[in-house]
């Protein structure tokens, strides 16, 4: 009986962790998306990058490294094209899309499960 109780407890912890994970990623992505949408200056983009790096420990554990690297790369690309309006807008859109994508990937939907 003890093993079953331990197993059930572990299961509940994992389910709880999964729910928390979805909530955390949603909040993080929403926050970064909002900051990015209103970012026009070098300092603002840098603030977004710093915010992204603050969650580095979590992102490296929970997300595919290729996704994390792609977002980091696109953020620096946005910084690079600050002077070019169109390129800058495109780079920002790309980051926003990636942030929404990692948010969607963690949600249980037909598309993500199958």
């Amino acid at each position: 009986m003890r093993k079953e109780i331990i197993a059930l407890a572990l299961l509940l912890i994992m389910v709880g962790g999964a729910v928390w994970n979805v909530s955390y990623i949603n909040n993080m992505s929403s926050e970064l998306t909002f900051m990015l949408e209103t970012a026009d200056t070098y300092e603002q983009i840098e603030a977004v990058i710093n915010k992204w790096f603050e969650a580095e420990e979590y992102t490296q554990i929970a997300l595919r490294h290729s996704e994390v690297d792609a977002i980091t790369s696109d953020l620096y690309t946005a910084l690079e094209f600050l002077d070019n309006k169109e390129e800058f807008a495109a780079a920002k859109e790309r980051v926003i899309w990636r942030l929404e994508h990692i948010q969607e990937m963690e949600q249980v939907r037909w598309g993500t499960v199958f």
Partner: protein, 170 residues
């Protein structure tokens, strides 16, 4: 390289602990659900080892989830016969008192050759001597041979007396 080594060590410890937690049943003849869990764990544990871009959690969490599921399923199977039958099926009697149940053979998709082979592995070469041959839920065939009692001849009374006299004379 160091990352792969560390991941391999962690995964080895976790899978070892998981298998140990599930119990010795995992090492012996596996039931269907146990076989599935064993196969899945092996594959899932290997994924983060072969690709360091995949988070280690992508291997650890499914392994732990399967471990918990297997422990709960086997615990429930222990408590409920109906659940056990639903999960793992029931053993099938293929041969009884030397007679083959062809219906059961067909139902379990076992050929006569396979049955004969399984009996030979149990050192049974004559089907007529088989008391029971059972197809177990773990896929093995167990058989019990009918014990043949040796014929004991009754010595006629006259011969017994004659033998007794001869002994006295000796």
């Amino acid at each position: 390289m160091a990352v792969i080594l560390t991941r391999t060590l962690i995964m080895f410890v976790v899978v070892y602990a998981a298998t140990r937690f599930m119990g010795k049943r995992q090492l012996g003849q596996l039931e269907l659900s146990e076989l599935i869990v064993a196969l899945l764990i092996a594959d899932l544990a290997a994924q983060p080892l072969s690709d360091i871009g995949v988070p280690l959690m992508n291997g650890l969490i499914p392994v732990l989830f399967l471990l918990c599921g297997e422990v709960l399923i086997s615990g429930a199977a222990l408590k409920s016969k109906n659940f056990r039958d639903f999960l793992w099926g029931k053993p099938s009697v293929l041969v009884e008192d030397g007679k083959i149940d062809l219906k059961e053979l067909k139902r379990n998709r076992i050929s006569l050759d396979e049955l004969a082979e399984a009996l030979r592995k149990k050192n049974i070469f004559d089907l007529a001597n088989v008391k029971y041959a059972v197809f177990e839920t773990d896929g093995t065939i167990n058989a019990v041979e009918e014990k043949i009692k040796p014929k004991v001849e009754k010595i006629p009374q006259d011969n017994q007396k004659k033998n007794g006299e001869k002994k006295d004379n000796a």
